[in-house]
Amino acid sequence: MKKRGYKKFIPYIYSLPGLIFIGLMIVFPILYTGYISLTNMNVYHWFDFHIIGFQNYKKALFVLDTGFLAAFGRTIVWTAVNMMLQMIIAFLIASLLNVEGLKLKGVYKTILMFPWAMPGYISILLWRMGMFNTEFGLLNNWLNRLGFSDVHWLNSDHIAFGSSVVVNLWLALPFMIMIIDGALQSIDKTYYESATIEGAGYFVQVRQITLPLLKPIIAPAVIITMFTTFKQFDIIYLLTQQQGSKTGADIHTVITYTYEKAFVTNNYGYSSAISIIIFMILIIFSLAIRGGKKGGDVDE
């Protein structure tokens, strides 16, 4: 079919409004963040800021006691711990859901999906006030009843980190269970039958059949979850770092750290530099993942 001249512009006309919104509200602010990161803008230099080059970046990357490197390390640990626990528990639960003869599977699955359906920030606040609260939280109440004394769930670094991991698991497991459950169902049952005939035990079957077949199906979801975990802001912020009601635990990840530098200590230039560093890290991550995956083209 021959294209008339104006037809060439049709796709641009169709996509222009959307791209303008994205350009103005997403791209321009990122570029502006990059610009602020090169200045000394802070609460004392709101208008009379000036360019100071890469000093903010140097401060973040080479001055140890700014806390950025510690927060970065913590974010890596946070992501690794959560992903590991999530994969193991979700695999276990999904496999058990698929045991033949389990009649109530549908009911269990629906109930297990509830945490996913709840608005995230509400769940986190409910955990903070209902479960972890020192005076009237359920956990301490139960502990008291068993004869133990109160635990301050959110006040010291290690316990608060553990509590945050628990909340993250509670929030994120449903999605992972659903993904693995779907993947397990797509595996051809005859593989297992012939393996059983050849005398392969349960664990051999899991290692030789289930896991290799599972991997490519769940890979995209796992990668997405990894990014969301790395970028997780709400849990740590709402549980421990809320403005005006900090619990005293310092378990900043890079995102909550950046937020604090911008909106609490008002060091805008420095905070913007960290934003750009995180963005670079995320880009490198996703490029590495795309590069490692064959056919990772955006087209199909």
Partner: protein
């Protein structure tokens, strides 16, 4: 033991495991429900069970009539409807263009959009604030709507583009042969076919706006302008800390619509999301 009884024991244990797992999973929600229905602040006494001794709806009444809850609901609905309408209006044509046409810059833009999606908007929140302030869009709904539309346009574009890709082009060609013009082609053929994906996208946008609190709190001043999320956040930071039953009632009232919508479209959501942009 015969094979049969062995199987029965196994299934029994399995059911026990899931009953325990489901209870663990529901405890925070059930406990909140129980607190919201109980009369006094301290319902915890006696045993491990947390069923309230006296049932009352006072906490729900307090939320609805003593707090600006209904005002926040109204504000939220304004933001939700404006964001959904605008996002779909800009994302559907764009998704269609990126799915059906091959043009210069197409691949590059799609790729940049993926990278932009990796950028958490909290990181550029200060820059957005600084940009919107001089043009008087801070503390205005329009400002928030623009931010939300920008974020959701990327998601909508990718998600619906993925779905458009699965609609065979032959259907359109057949329509063209039957004499349909471009406009009819889109409104009569493509949009009805893409309905599942459009619905999922719209619902995801609704959930996003309904749950978004950090921009709403930062950009809006004064409880009169808060959304539900911002209002709940502000209240738990101040007075509700002392009034946990009222806060639980407010939380549940806010969560229930989303819970219902979510469970209703859950099945579509899996297919709507996996067929769409999430696959890459």
């Amino acid at each position: 033991m015969s094979r049969r009884t062995k199987l029965k024991v196994k299934l029994g244990l399995l059911n026990l495991f899931f009953v325990v797992a489901c209870s663990l999973c529901l405890i925070p929600i059930l406990y909140t429900l129980s607190v919201s229905l109980s009369g006094t602040n301290n319902i915890l006494s006696g045993s491990f069970s947390f069923i309230p001794k006296t049932f009352t709806l006072d906490n729900y009444k307090a939320v609805l009539f003593n707090e600006p809850y209904l005002l926040w609901l109204k504000n939220t609905l304004i933001l939700v409807s404006a964001t959904v309408t605008l996002s779909l209006a800009v994302a559907i044509p764009a998704a269609y263009a990126f799915s059906r046409f091959r043009f210069i810059g197409r691949k590059t833009i799609l790729y940049i959009l993926i990278l932009l999606n990796a950028f958490p908007s909290i990181l550029s929140m200060f820059a957005i604030y600084r940009i919107l302030m001089p043009i008087k869009l801070v503390n205005s709904y329009l400002g928030l709507i623009l931010i939300y539309v920008g974020t959701m346009a990327i998601f909508g574009l990718w998600n619906m583009k993925g779905y458009f890709d699965t609609i065979p082009i032959e259907i359109e060609e057949a329509g063209k042969i039957d004499g349909a013009n471009d406009f009819q082609l889109v409104t009569k053929l493509i949009l009805p076919l893409a309905k599942p994906s459009i619905i999922v996208t719209a619902v995801m946008i609704i959930i996003f706006v309904w749950n978004e609190y950090i921009f709403a709190v930062t950009f809006m001043t004064g409880a009169q302008k808060y959304t539900l999320a911002a209002g709940l956040y502000a209240l738990q930071a101040t007075q509700y800390t002392r009034n946990w039953p009222v806060f639980s009632a407010a939380s549940l009232l806010t969560a229930i619509p989303i819970l219902i919508i979510f469970l209703m479209i859950q099945r579509n959501m899996v297919s709507g999301l996996t067929a769409g942009g999430v696959k890459g």
